[in-house]
């Protein structure tokens, strides 16, 4: 079975973001970028399926600027066999990404597609579900366990209030939650080998997909700052403050 895994280049999760002075967007100049953490989990799951002999080939795909090839190289170093970069400098919304990925699914005919449940920049949590709808394939979102069982895929999902397990026909679309696995680090020899693995570079126009969206970003602001309060010296003082000052007890 071929596994397609989608990865996104985003700001490193440890970086404290700054809003641009003109409030047009977040300032990403000279900011450390990395693979979206949920995408790392997706790559790891695909590679584990290959190590188990379930997957025969792992193909990584990314939509984004030229620099997104760094994250594709990382995917190759982690164990993906080849990569597809769909290069664009435009701001690409989830719907356009899903349309591009649907075209890749159509070309590649994977048995399973794994994506992160959300990217930590836009926090949208949409692309996997949109891809499933556009390809008319079943979806297992927010996965904490994925088991291939014959011609079915059992996905345990993290839902409000607990866990839900569903069975999907294959091919299927899976989005990862945090506890699906713990991603490995790339080893130096694998990073060197990854440089020789094939990377196919395409553009949205190759697929006839228009990336422009009808959603416009009018303004980006910093949230209201929460001021730190006071330190109290004892439990008695805490209870007194909560009762008499904050009036929440």
């Amino acid at each position: 079975m071929k596994v397609l895994v989608a990865v996104k280049r985003v700001i490193d999760y440890n970086v404290k973001i700054r809003v641009k002075a003109d409030h047009s967007d977040v300032d990403l100049t000279n900011v450390k970028m990395a693979m979206n953490p949920f995408c790392e989990i997706a790559v790891e799951e695909a590679v584990r399926l290959k190590e188990k002999g379930v997957a025969t080939e792992v193909v990584a795909v990314s939509v984004g600027p030229k620099a997104a090839q760094e994250q594709l190289r990382t995917s190759l170093a982690l164990g993906a066999d080849r990569a597809i970069h769909i290069e664009t400098d435009e701001r690409v919304e989830s719907l356009a990404v899903a349309k591009l990925l649907a075209n890749v699914v159509d070309e590649e005919q994977p048995g399973l597609v794994i994506l992160g449940k959300q990217a930590i920049d836009t926090d949208n949590n949409q692309t996997g579900q949109m891809l499933a709808a556009l390809t008319n394939l079943p979806q297992g979102t927010f996965a904490s366990e994925v088991v291939v069982d014959g011609d079915k895929l059992h996905v345990t999902r993290e839902i409000d209030g607990g866990l839900q397990t569903i069975a999907l026909t294959l091919p299927a679309i899976v989005t990862t939650d945090l506890r699906l696995n713990e991603p490995r680090y790339a080893k130096l020899p694998d990073i060197m080998k990854a440089k020789k693995k094939p990377m196919d570079v395409r553009t949205p126009a190759d697929f006839g997909v228009e990336v422009a969206s009808k959603v416009s970003l009018l303004k980006v602001e910093s949230p209201a700052e929460r001021k730190g309060g006071v330190k109290v010296a004892s439990v008695d003082e805490l209870i007194d403050k909560l009762k008499n000052e904050a009036k929440v007890l």
Binding site: S94, V215, G228, V232, I239, A246
Partner: protein, 308 residues
Amino acid sequence: MSILVLADLHEGQLAGATAHVIAAAKQIGGDIDVLVAGEGVQAAADAAAKLDGVNKVRVADNAVYAHQLAEPLGALLVELADDYSHVLASASTTGKNMLPRLAALKDVSQLSDIIAVDSADTFKRPIYAGNAIATVKSDDALKVITVRATGFDAVDESGSASIEAVDVVVENSQSSFVKEELAQSDRPELGGAKVVISGGRGMGNGENFKLLDGIADKLGAAIGASRAAVDAGFVPNDMQVGQTGKIVAPELYIAVGISGAIQHLAGMKDSKVIVAINKDDDAPIFQVADYGLVGDLFEILPELESKL
């Protein structure tokens, strides 16, 4: 304008989040219909009909909609959406699961997790784990939106909407339900609780989370956890508060043994009053806490419980 709100269900009953989503719909303006879809959901439909501002409750009661599977629910929404200018759902795991399917099949973008309504086409939503707030405008003919419940005060139960059956039945051969393991608790749900007490890595192990029980009982609080505590296996994932877990905004949030990573702060910093209990004087949680108490939680918690 006319708005369809997908009701959020929890074990077949109407979840509290729905009343918050209707509040957002009222700010957009127009007729508000609520869709209750599931199997054996008459009680949930009755509850939805009582919510203030609801024009009509539409009930799709059929086995194919049981367990809120994405494929049939998404197909049902696609069937119904043409009557509406906006389709809203709570940004719960159900709403997040369904709504992007509707958006994609209608070839429109989705606005996720809105926290404010500026106008019928312009909304505010947090990005970068809430470290920035984006104002976004949608020119799509159909607006597909998930709503962060904590951004809107719930409507009250003064309504008496009509209830009508929806007889759209879709096929689903792609997905099937296997099992569900839901946490059983007498405590309020995290998302709707007035008081939340959460434990972090500093709790040391799962057994020690029992130290929070007595305090939670006295305060009528829900119990949450940081990702560190969940990842360490102390408690199940549905207790996680943060960017990728539950977003809460109670009257009182008590963070115990939680250092305060930005991903955790993203889930609780809109709480009215924040208390932090931590042995590390420099923990970032103190920068957002209204009241900080530095000390050993194993001494502080029993004392707090006894004095409340």
